[in-house]
Amino acid sequence: MIRNLQNSLLIVLVLSSCTEKKTHADIEPVILHNTMQRLTDIIVHDIFSPPVASRVYAYPSIAAYEVMAQTDSTYVSLSGQLKEFNGIPHPTTNKIDFELSAIIAFINVGKALIFSEEKFEEYEIDFISQVKENGLDETILNNSIAYAKIVSDTILNWSKKDNYNETRTYQKFTVKDETDRWQPTPPGYFEAIEPHWGKIRTFVIDSADQFTPERPTKFDMNENSDFHKEVMDVYNAGNNLDNVQSEIARFWDCNPFVINVKGHAMFATKKITPGGHWINIAKIACEKDSADIIKSTATYALTSIALADAFISCWDEKYRSNLIRPETVINQYIDADWLPLLQTPPFPEYTSGHSVISGAAGVALTSIYGDPFPFVDDSELVYGLPIRKYNSFTAASDEAAISRFYGGIHYMPAIENGITQGRDLGSFLIGKIKMKVDQ
């Protein structure tokens, strides 16, 4: 990560070899991507759950976009387009570098939302000192930093009213002895995460329940019931996975905290969240499209907003239906020793989070980059998984959705209805907000 940063700064450095004080920091899109990567790394380190991580992605992305949207008349501010968001103040001076402000505002907001601040501080200090070394005029540097502060304060004040803080102390999910009700799953038996995420303020959609999916199949373990069949489908699929299916499941695992237990010894395997994976696909799209910094911030903003609303919508449903996971049902009724390929994440089954958010993110990215858009997804290389190729965002989101079935953690309706839920939400969202004048 540091190395990446240094490489990119080296480019900046080479571009600016003269000693005169410069009026522009000449920040390239790669800096934005690296900063986003830093945020991702810290999210992974701090172990944010998928819904919370989606919130952590959204606000910094919006901050950066709002700064940049002022610089290009073809872009439109999100002011008035996002719930309770009235935009950011304009700078009071023109001695400012907007790109620089955008990056710093991103860092400021990100830093406030994650735990390990020192990890972002380190990065920020490195970044600013490189900008200095690069010869940016000090007044401009200081103005840009000051403006970023105003922007990030505005964004953070707005973020504080989204009910995140209040929901921290809402009632925990209570485990009850009901046959169809979700219960903690091995090996960690963690409590259900974010049972009140549906009460978080949405960004664009009218309400958390605007895209309530069809009811899940009624729990019924009689042999001829639909539910029994769906359970057996998961069980049989899990027992007969071919290599491609296993690879797909692992590729889209995106579980931020897999616990490995060996007697008293435990260690965690941590990965990006589902939202983090799509943020990385957004980066891949930007890079493939050679998107400039403003287009890149727009890409991140739209993707992260779609992800955040999709998580709210999905979580609203999860704690409406509170459906039991396949692993629990199969262990109780069919095979006590059965293990899904993936570790079951700690929240109710319906609908599949990955299906909903991939559906939404796929629609958002397609709205910017079109369909088809062939790309190579190397997001999981760092976790020792191979690359995968897709012809479009839609194809990628289809695969992300079915991966949960192969992984043994979802029944089929959660996938099919989940991707519908996500795409409906995504379509609504891109119809509702306008980021380009010509849209």
């Binding site: 999910f173 209570t174 091995p186 760092v382 020792g384």
Partner: protein
């Protein structure tokens, strides 16, 4: 005698006086002893703690005289290194005779090592356990038969003992009393702990992991596990085994300690060759990660008690950076759905209560937290007549370090996830070391121990596991031999020598049980009973010298010794001089009658099976307070049910009202002839939504008919929700009518009636416990004035805000003829309100230091001096709470995260500083910002409460305090009241209910106390150990299990005396259980 005492005293004085304290035990070096055994472990990529979960459990050690020269010899087993046999040459020097003896072993992973005379030739043989079949480990359990000439012949196969399994240890016992030694083989599971699996996995036998009972059939041991009822599943993580005749019926029983979620097993010997596993019947809860254990009679009642070790750290830094207790919901899931028992991560000390359940006291006893503990050994090391306790400790790597689990491991290994070996080695390197000291506790005789580790044993950081005892220098006291991982074995030589009296007994019993394994000894001196059994396999993976040792402080002779031989014949020795070794063989024996031990005399209560028609079962609703307010110290939603007795149908007979919990109607039983019948009163059942916590049946409008007043609560309803309103039912001609009552929305706890204004009607005090969703806030309690059956609130702000009230009593404490009010509650001192011409004015009678978690109060002349004293039920000492006047327990109450809802943070003192009770996960579960402040557990661990929260936050908090957790009584000394605490038997759990009655018909009132409480997180466990107590006076207190009460493991909430057909019965109401009815049999 006096001289000896002085000598002893000055000896201890010298221990205390000088700076260079001479410890009770001195460690000898290998150059002095010749013992250089070292259990060195070699980790490899293929074989380490990630491949084999018990990689750090260590080897074994056995002490016994292998050549019958009177000097105990030592055998060590090594995991990977060769085993060693050291011959005792006298003068604490030893000779390594391993090679010549042929006992170095052939397995490549040895575990427990035990000595026993397997073939009955009078020479001790050695049985060495092995782990075979994991990661290429080969070998088998080896049996080295003693040839009698310092050489041995390995002959396990011939005896059928050459198991190729995952063995931890083995224990000798003659379970079928046929005169030879059988073997219980303890095996351990390696089942990857992916999921709990259902508890009934234990019924399906697995060869490698299942425990085995091997019957000695002369030349061969036969596996009779299955027919004998021994479990052998893949879930049995057997690490500890203890043999003892726990129930004193003449047949040895077996206790197996299992690691992880598998329950411990308590095998009661049926006397017919079979066992009945009875853990849940006799134990309210156990340790969770059970390791070694040991048995001894600690409280001089002739019944064996048992300790089981776990791994709860004492040190704050380690405690708060280690994975801790289960979450409430998970415990519920594990117990109710998966069928396991209650288990908590700490040492447990189980006190034998005969035919009742064991009472667990480790927290009160001061021995619950001794870190990563392996071996426990009870013995009277200082020879004062009380059992002391040694605990060995340490692990080379702490795999449950939270930073390792959550942060360290991942960052280092994520890029190499498929390269398993690299992962393992790197992961290993990142686990913190668990090198810690061993513990030694001095027994005090009142179920508590004093930590003498600093004074009595060398302060060395080791990885100590298997430990054995023996008198290596034949000076009459007990020395310790410890098998350390990656370090030289320790020899701790006891220096008490003859500064206190002792007696050492050896047995010469008939072959094949030549050492008399299973022999019991009752020793009596100065009116004190000490009891021991000879079972050599004790502690962890080891066996001790086959002798029995007693200490007698300064006594010069022992009054008598009763010996019960393994065949249950008995003989008695009288007037025995101390400080000698006796070798005893059976002479002039007769059959022992065990009934004299176990028959309970002095029963006052007889539990009725049919309950005379009172089939009331209280069902507590499943609401969990911690789901809403995670940091509450305990629940407040489960304080019911209400109970009142009185004549409801005007037939002159006493009827019963039981309150229901939320959504469950209250139930009324009327007395008809000689039984009870449930009746339905619609008006009352209509209020079933309410949780009825307290109730009275009295005539409130002076129409000679009883009325009913119900106090509602339950802490689930909040704000101005109607179910919080109390209910007032007036009896009209034929039914009850809901009458208007002052509207206030509180969680009721107590209603007490009295005519405090002398106007001829009953007025009410209604005490309230808590504010829903705002624990820590003081609720309003009310004095209500009765005017012709109509109640109105009497303004009295002092009383209204008097605290979190649990109980109250109207009583003329100042003897001025006017009835006064005394209220008690949590986080407050008992408060006296003086009745001054109809006005209740707080009378600050008590000195400081009386803030408690008071649960009950009763006026009772406990010192029989004619004035009224007040008995006070408190939280007791058997919890993780800790409070004193100097260092009160503190509860900070504040909206810490400024989000509109309040939190409470509890802090207790340790070594002069205050630490939060909860760890980072629990605190940040409610206060997310702490995650920003402490990004690593090690940054948080060891921080005081002041360091965790900034000063301003703490300053703006309200602080509630508790400085006394003991139950006791306020003794009336001419109108002044002084607090006296009860003995430890009454501090074993919260005392929730008190009842005055002359139970034993001696013409004097007695006080009956009941209690126990389960509304706490697994962090505390379950307060289930109180069997009740009959308090006759200050010194005469009888435990409930001795007088016929069955209160252990039941949370008693109310007790009433009911007259049925001119006989008296005790009605006991229990939270979440069936009501009990006892006949008073005196």
């Amino acid at each position: 005698m006096l001289k000896r005492y002085t000598l002893l005293f000055s000896f201890f004085l010298s221990l205390v006086a000088c700076n260079n304290k001479k410890p009770l035990f001195e460690s000898l070096s290998p150059s002095e002893t010749g013992i250089s055994f070292q259990n060195s472990l070699t980790e490899s990529d293929d074989f380490n703690i990630l491949d084999y979960l018990y990689f750090y459990n260590g080897g074994g050690v056995a002490i016994g005289d292998i050549n019958n020269d009177g000097l105990p010899d030592i055998y060590f087993s090594g995991n990977q290194v060769k085993n060693k046999l050291y011959l005792n040459k006298g003068g604490l020097t030893f000779e390594d005779i391993t090679e010549k003896a042929g006992v170095s072993g052939n397995s490549n992973w040895n575990t427990g090592a035990v000595m026993g005379d397997v073939n009955g030739d009078g020479f001790l043989d050695i049985y060495v356990c092995a782990v075979v079949g994991i990661r290429g480990l080969t070998g088998y359990n080896e049996l080295f038969i003693n040839n009698g000439d310092n050489t041995f012949t390995e002959n396990a196969a011939k005896y059928g003992l050459d198991h190729e399994t995952f063995s931890s240890s083995a224990a000798f016992l003659d379970y079928d009393l046929d005169g030879d030694l059988d073997i219980f083989l303890l095996n351990h599971a390696i089942h990857t702990q992916e999921s709990f699996g259902h508890a009934n996995l234990r019924h399906k036998r697995s060869i490698e992991t299942g425990d085995k009972l091997m019957r000695n059939d002369g030349e061969f041991f036969t596996d009779i596990s299955e027919e004998a009822g021994i479990y052998g599943g893949i879930n049995g993580y057997g690490l500890g085994v203890a043999i003892s005749d726990f129930n004193q019926d003449g047949f040895p029983d077996i206790y197996v300690g299992n690691d992880f979620h598998e329950d411990d097993y308590y095998y009661v010997n049926n006397g017919n060759g079979t066992f009945t596993e009875s853990l849940k019947k006799y134990f309210g809860h156990t340790s969770r990660f059970s390791m070694g254990n040991d048995v001894a009679d600690l409280n001089h009642d002739g019944m064996p008690d048992i300790i089981s070790l776990d791994m709860l750290p004492e040190d704050e830094k380690i405690l708060k950076s280690s994975d801790g207790d289960e979450e409430v919901n998970i415990m519920e899931l594990r117990t109710s759905q998966y069928g396991y028992h209650y288990q908590f991560s700490r040492n447990t000390l189980q006190i034998n209560q005969g035919t009742s359940m064991f009472a667990e006291t480790a927290l009160m006893s001061g021995i619950a937290a001794t870190d990563w503990s392996w071996s426990s050994l009870f013995a009277d090391f200082d020879q004062d007549g009380e059992q002391d306790l040694f605990i060995s400790n340490g692990i080379p790597k702490r795999p449950n370090d939270l930073d390792f689990i959550k942060f360290v491991s991942n960052e280092q290994i994520k890029e190499k996830i498929d390269a398993t070996k690299l992962v393992d080695q790197q992961a290993l390197d990142l686990m913190p070391s668990g090198a810690v000291r061993n513990y030694l506790f001095k027994g005090t005789g009142n179920l508590t121990f004093e930590n003498k580790s600093d004074d009595w044993i060398p302060n060395e950081s080791l990885f100590s596991a298997a430990t054995a005892m023996g008198d290596l220098d034949n000076d009459g006291d007990l020395d310790l031999v410890i098998n350390n991982i990656n370090g030289l074995a320790s020899l701790y030589i006891n220096q008490i020598n003859e500064k206190a009296s002792y007696l050492k007994l050896k047995f010469d019993y008939r072959s094949p049980n030549t050492k008399g394994v299973g022999t019991k000894v009752f020793s009596y001196h100065n009116g004190k009973l000490q009891y021991k059994e000879l079972f050599t396999v004790r502690g962890f993976q080891s066996s001790s010298e086959p002798t029995i040792h007693f200490g007698y402080e300064d006594a010069e002779k022992v009054d008598s010794i009763r010996i019960i031989w393994p065949d249950n014949t008995t003989q008695t020795l009288k007037d025995i001089s101390v400080n000698q070794v006796l070798t005893i063989s059976p002479t002039k024996v007769n059959t022992f009658d065990y009934k004299q031990l176990t028959n309970v005399k002095g029963k006052l209560f007889e539990l009725l099976e049919n309950n005379m028609g009172i089939d009331f079962i209280h069902i507590e609703d499943k609401y969990i307070d911690f789901d809403r307010q995670r940091l509450m110290p305990y629940q407040v939603s489960d304080r019911g049910p209400a109970t009142a007795i009185g004549d409801i149908n005007n037939d002159g007979k006493t009827d019963i009202f039981f309150g229901g919990s939320k959504f469950i109607p209250s139930q009324i039983y009327v007395q008809i002839d000689s039984s009870f019948e449930k009746i339905h009163i619609q008006e009352i059942e209509n209020d079933s939504i309410k949780e009825d916590v307290t109730v009275i049946i009295q005539d409130l409008n002076n129409d000679d008919k009883n009325d009913i007043l119900v106090g509602s609560g339950g802490a689930d309803f909040y704000n101005q929700m109607k179910p919080l309103l109390d209910s007032y039912y007036l009896q009209s001609d034929s039914s009850f009518v809901n009458e208007s009552f002052p509207e206030y929305f509180e969680n009721a706890s107590v209603i007490k009636m009295a005519d405090y204004d002398n106007d001829g009607d009953l007025d009410a005090f209604i005490g309230n416990l808590s504010v829903s969703n705002d624990y820590g806030n003081i609720p309003n309690s009310y004095l209500l004035n009765n005017e012709n059956g109509e109640f109105s609130i009497v303004e009295n702000i002092e009383l209204q805000k008097s605290g979190m009230i649990t109980d109250a009593v109207w009583s003329d404490y100042n003897n001025d003829g006017e009835i006064d009010l005394i209220v008690v509650g949590e986080w407050m001192s008992p408060k006296f309100f003086k009745n001054q011409e109809g006005e209740l004015i707080e009378d600050k009678l008590l000195n400081g230091g009386m803030n408690g978690l008071w649960q009950s109060i009763a006026p009772f002349d406990i010192d029989k001096d004619g004035d009224i004293d007040y008995v006070l039920g408190n939280w007791g000492l058997n919890s993780k709470f800790n409070a004193s006047e100097k260092y009160p327990m503190k509860m900070y109450y504040h909206d810490f995260d400024n989000n509109g809802s309040t939190e409470t943070i509890l802090a207790i003192e340790k070594n002069g500083k205050y630490y939060t009770l909860e760890g980072l996960d629990e605190l940040s579960g409610q206060l997310v910002t702490l995650r920003k402040k402490f990004t690593r557990y090690k940054d948080f661990a060891g921080k005081t409460v002041e360091e965790i929260f900034d000063g301003n936050t703490l300053k703006s908090s309200e602080i509630l305090e508790v400085s006394n957790l003991k139950s006791g009584y306020l003794k009336n000394d001419n109108g002044n009241f002084y607090f006296h605490c009860f003995p430890s038997e009454l501090q074993i759990a919260p005392i929730m209910a008190l009842l005055i009655h002359d139970f034993d018909k001696d013409g004097k009132d007695d006080l009956l106390a009941g209690g126990n409480y389960f509304g706490v997180k697994p962090f505390h466990g379950r307060f289930d150990a109180f069997s009740g107590a009959l308090i006759k006076n200050e010194t005469d207190i009888k435990s409930g299990y001795k007088i016929g009460l069955d209160f252990t493991n039941k949370s008693v909430r109310d007790m009433n005396i009911i007259s049925i057909n001119n006989s008296e019965y005790l009605l006991v109401t229990i939270n979440n259980a069936k009501a009990q009815l006892y006949k008073l049999i005196k």
